[in-house]
Symmetry: D2
Subunit: 342 residues, 4 copies
C-alpha cells in the first residue's frame, strides 16, 4: 500500500485526490496547500487525510511514500527536487518543469536514488490515445504520414504560461507516446492579441525523420471549442475527436494509390481509395485514474513509467524550441539530439 | 452586349460557359479547346457557339470583345498577353499567372491598352465572403485579431501545381478582399507524402502590420473534408463553414474583457464574454455568375474589377514567398513592399 | 431558514442533497434511505446531516419543515401523504404520483393544510425552456402550430415503469409549462421488444384546441442519443437541442407566406420565407438548484409553485390516457376536462 | 434496344429523360408535355427526340416500346391504362395511382397483356437502402424490432396532395422493400396549419406481425431538413442519414442483453451492450439511373420488377388507410389482407 501526499489543492488537485482514493494499492495520506480555504475544502471531502499548509511537512512525514504535485509549474522543480531528496517517488502535473535544465536535474536525481519520476501526460492514459497507438503498432495505419491537431476554445487566459505551455503540451505528450521517431526541428508562429497577456494563439510545425510531420494549432481565443486530430498513414487515416461523446476515434479506409506504368512516363497517376469507416468501442475508464494506478504500479514493480521524466524532458525541450522559433516568426529551430540523448 | 470567348473547356470551362449564357449583357460567342472531345461536348451544350481548336482563332475574331481563360496555369501568361495585344478584355482563372513577373507584365499591358484584366478569385463573389466583409466594414467584428482557415479533403492530386497553388490561393484571395492591411512576411511548412507528387499538405502563417495574423491549413490527403475559417476581432468572432448548407456564417458575440484595477497590480484579470450567436440569411446566387457579371460590368463602365490584376499579383507573390519559406522549413520570408507597390 | 429532509438517496437523491446544500435559505437537516450502504455514502458527503433508515423518523422530527422525495414512484403517495399530514411541505420527483387518483388526494391534502406541494418537473427550470417560454410569451414565435419532440437513447430499462412514464413525462411537463391550452385528446402507439420488460418505445400525439398539436417520440432502445424538439409558430420556429453544449435554443426566422389574389382563385400560392437564425446566450445555472430555490421561495412566501401539484396531476392524467390509447393501437382517448378542472 | 417515351416534362421529367439517355439498352424516342414551354426546354436538351403536346400521340407511335409517366398523380391512371392497352410497358412516378382501385385495375391490365408495370420507388434503388436490405438479409441486424423515420423540411406545399402522399410514400416504399412482413394496421395523426392547404405534418404508426413496428414523421413545415431513419434489431442497429455526404449508413453494434437467473426471479436484469460502429462505403451510382436500367432489364427478360405494380398497390393502400386514420385522430385502421392478396 503506497501512501500518497497530494501537494496543491487548487484547480486540478481535487481530481488527483479523488482518484488516489479510488485507485487500488494506495491511499491518500495527506494534502498540502498554502491556502487555508483550499485545505478547508480538502478536509470536507477527505476527512481522514492529514492537512499541511507547508508542503515541507508532507516531505518530512516518514509514512509518505510518494507525492503528486499539482502546483503552478514554477514550483515544480523546487518541490520535486526536495521530495526526491526526501526519498519520495514523484508524479508531477504536466509540464514536468519550467525549463529543460530543471527537468534534466530531476531525472538525474531520481535515477541516482532509484525513485520513480513520472509526469502526468494525462492524454496518454485515455482509451482513445491508447487505441490509436495500438492501431499504429499493429500496422492498421501503415507508414505514418502526419499528425495534425486543432485544440482551440475560448479558454482560461493564464497569467504565468502562454497557450503552448498550456495546450500544445498535450499534443507533444501524445506525439511522444505515439511516434517512435522524435522531431528534428520545429517552426512556430504565435500571436498575443490581449495587451498585457501572454501569447493566446500559436501554430507549431514539427519535422520528423523520414518526411513525417506534425502540426499543432492551439488557441485560447476561439469562438468554438475544437479538439480534433487527424493522423494519416499509407494504409488508413484516423480522425480523433475528443469532444465526440462516444465515437472519439474513427478509422477511414482511405488514401491514394499510385499507378505508374511504362506508358505513363510523363503522367503519374494518383487516384483515391475510399472504403469503409470504423469507430471502435472504447473503454470509459477515467484517464487520470489509469495514470495514478500506473504510477503506483511502477513504484511497486520498480519499473519506468510510460510518461517518464525523460519523456517529460523531451516535451519541455520542444516547448522551449517552439518559443524560440515563434519569437523569430517561424525560423526553424533544431531540436538538439545530443542533449536529448543524455 | 459583350461577346465572350471561353478558352479551355476541360474541368472548369463548362461552368464558365454556362454562366456566360446566364449572365446579362454578354453572350457566349465561341469556345476554344485543343481537345476535339472537349469541343464535341461544348458543341452539344452550346450549339450556337463557334468552336476553335486553336485559341489564336478566337483572338483574331474581331467580334470577340473579351476572353475567359480556363487553361492550366502555365498557359495563362501566353494566352492572356496575346489576348490583351489583340485588344480583348481578359478574365483569368485563379491564380492569375504562374509567376509574379508574368503577372506584372500582364498588368502593365492591360493598363497601357486600357483593357480590363481580372482574375477569377471566385470566393470573393460568394454571398458568405461578401457578408463577412460587410460585418468587418460596419464595425460588427471590431479590430481584427486573426484569420485561421482549414481547407482540407481527399483531393485531386495535380501534376503541375502543389496544394498551396491549388487551395491556399482561395484563402489568400479572400484575405486580400477582407483585410485592408497586406501581409509583411510569411512562414510556411509543407510535406509531400506521395513519391513523385508535389507537396500535398502545407501550413502557412502570415504576419500583418499591427499584430494581425493569419494561418492557412491546406491538405489534399485528409480523410474528411473541412472548409472552416475562424475570424476573430475585438468585439465578435465569426465561424465561416462553407460546407454548411444554410448557416455558412455564424457570428459569435464572444471574446475576452480585461479588468485591471489598482488592487490588481500584479494580477491582470482576463475574463470571458459569452453572448448570443447569429447566422444571417445569405443570398443563394451562384458566385461564378456574380463574377462574370462583374467582369462584364467593369468592361461596360471602364472601371477596375474588385479582383483586379493587381490583387491577382499580390496573391501570386505570397504564393511564391510561401514556397520559398517551406523549402527552408518555415524560415520567414519578407513580402517585398516595394515590388508590391510597383 | 427551511430545514429539509431528503427521502431516498439512490440514483437521484445525491443530486438533490447536494443542491439543497448549495441553495440559499435552506439547510439539509436529514437524509433517509432504507439501504445502509446508501446512508453510508450520504454520511461521507454530508457528515452533519441526520441519517434515518426509516423515513417516518424524518416526518416525526419537528425541526424538519419540508421533505424532498426521490424514491421509486410507487412510494410517492404514501410518503407524501404522511408528510403532509405531519405538516411538512413536499417536493416530489417526477412524476407526481403513480395514478391521477393519488395525485388528486395529495393536492386536496396540501390545500387543506395550506402546505406547498410541488413536483420536480426539472426541465421547466432549465434556462433553455424558460427562454422558449419567454419567446412564446413576447410574441416572437407568433401563433403556436406544433411541438414535436424526439427523446431517445440506449437507456436504462426500468422494471417498474415504461418508457413514457420515464421519458415522455419530461415533454408533458414542458408542454404544461409552455402552452396555455391543455390537450383535449391523445393517441399513442408503443412497443416492447424485450421479453419480460415494459414498453421501451412509444409515439404520442396530443390534440389541443385550435388545431395545435404535439408529438412525442420516446425510446430506450435507440442506437444514438437525441434530445431534439421543434416548436413552430406562425412567425418563427425553434429548434431546441438539449445535447448542444452551448447553442441549445435556435430561433429560425422561417415559415410560409400565403398569397391569394383575384387572379389565383384556383391556385393558392404558398411560398417560403427564409431569414436569419439566432441562438440566444443562456444562463448555465443548474436547473435542479433553481427548482429547489423555487420550492423554498414558495414556502417562505406561501405561494403556489410553477410546477404545482395540479400541473403534476395534469401530466399524470395524460400519461394514463396515453397508456390506455397505446393498449388499443392508437385509439384516441379524450382527456377528461371535468376531472382536470377539479 | 427499348424505345422509351417520357410523358410529363415538368419538375421530374427532365431527370428521367436524362437518365434514359445515360442508361444502356434503351433510347429516348420522344417526350410529351402539354406545355409548349416545357417542350421547348426538352427540345434544347434532347434535339433528336420527337416532341408531342398530346400524350396520345406517343402511345399511337408504333416504334415506342415503353412509357415513363411523370405527370401529376391524378393523371397516372388514365395515361397508364391507355399505354398498357396500346401495348406499352409502363413505369410510373410514385405513387403508382391516386387510389388503390385504380392501382388494381392497372395491375390486372398489365398482367393480362404480359407487360411490365413498374412504379418508381426511387429510394429502393439507392445504394444506401440496398445495403440495408443486404444487412437485414445476411443476419447482421438480427430479428427486426422497428423502423423509425423522420423526413422533414421546409417543403414545397403541394396543391393536390398532402404531406403523406408526398413524403411518407418514400418510407412506405422502403419498408415494402426491406421487410418481408406487411403491416396489419395503421394509426396516424396529422395537422394542417396553413388555411386552405392540405395537411402539412403527419405521424404514422404501422403495426406488423410479431410485434415489429414502424413510425414515420413527415413534415413540410419544419425549420430544418432531416432525413434520418433508425432500424433496430436484436443484434445491431442502423442509423441511415440520407443527408450525410459519405457515411449514410452507420451500423451500431449495440443493444440490450437479458440476464435472468434463479436468484433473480423478481428482478429481471436488462443491461446494455455497446460495441463498435461501422460505416460501409457505398456506391455513388444515381438511384434513378439504376431504376431505369432495372425497368429496361425486366422488359428484356420478361420478369417482374422489384417495385412492381403490386408493391405500388400495397403502398397506396397504406396511404389510404393512414388518411382514414388521421381523419379519426389515430383510430387504428386494419389494412385488409384479403384485398391485398388479390
Amino acid at each position: 500500500m503506497i501512501s500518497i501526499s497530494v501537494i496543491g489543492y487548487g484547480y486540478w488537485g481535487p481530481n488527483l485526490a479523488r482518484c488516489v482514493t479510488e485507485a487500488a494499492k494506495c491511499d491518500l495520506a495527506c494534502i498540502s496547500d498554502r491556502s487555508p480555504a483550499c485545505l478547508a475544502k480538502a478536509s470536507k471531502r477527505h476527512p481522514s487525510a492529514l492537512l499541511y499548509e507547508d508542503w515541507h511537512d508532507a516531505l518530512s512525514n516518514p509514512k509518505i511514500d510518494a507525492v503528486i504535485v499539482a502546483t503552478p509549474v514554477d514550483l515544480h522543480f523546487e518541490i520535486a527536487l526536495a521530495a526526491l531528496k526526501a526519498g519520495k517517488h514523484v508524479l508531477l502535473e504536466k509540464p514536468l518543469a519550467a525549463t529543460s535544465a530543471e527537468a534534466a536535474i530531476l531525472i538525474e536525481e531520481a535515477a541516482k536514488r532509484n525513485l520513480v519520476l513520472m509526469v502526468d501526460h494525462t492524454f496518454v492514459y485515455t482509451p482513445a490515445v491508447r487505441k490509436i497507438r495500438e492501431l499504429i503498432a499493429n500496422g492498421t495505419i501503415g507508414d505514418i504520414y502526419y499528425y495534425d491537431s486543432t485544440r482551440i476554445n475560448l479558454g482560461l487566459f493564464q497569467r504565468d504560461v502562454n497557450v503552448i505551455w498550456d495546450l500544445a503540451v498535450h499534443d507533444l505528450a501524445i506525439l511522444d507516446y505515439l511516434f517512435e521517431a522524435k522531431p528534428l526541428a520545429v517552426s512556430a508562429s504565435s500571436a498575443g492579441h490581449i495587451r498585457g497577456s501572454q501569447e493566446n494563439m500559436a501554430h507549431i510545425s514539427l519535422f520528423f525523420p523520414g518526411g513525417i510531420n506534425a502540426h499543432l494549432n492551439v488557441n485560447w481565443l476561439a469562438p468554438v471549442k475544437i479538439r480534433q486530430t487527424l493522423i494519416a498513414g499509407s494504409k488508413r487515416m484516423i480522425v480523433y475527436d475528443d469532444l465526440e461523446p462516444s465515437e472519439k476515434v474513427k478509422i477511414y479506409d482511405r488514401g491514394v494509390s499510385l499507378d505508374s506504368g511504362a506508358e505513363q512516363k510523363h503522367k503519374l497517376r494518383v487516384s483515391y481509395r475510399i472504403g469503409d469507416m470504423w469507430a471502435p468501442q472504447l473503454s470509459v475508464k477515467e484517464a487520470l485514474l489509469t495514470a495514478i494506478e500506473h504510477f503506483v504500479a511502477t513504484i511497486l514493480s520498480n519499473s519506468v513509467p510510460i510518461t517518464s521524466g525523460v519523456s517529460g524532458l523531451r516535451v519541455v525541450e520542444i516547448l522551449e524550441c517552439a518559443v524560440r522559433s515563434f519569437k523569430q516568426r517561424g525560423t526553424p529551430i533544431e531540436i538538439n539530439p545530443l542533449r536529448r540523448a543524455s
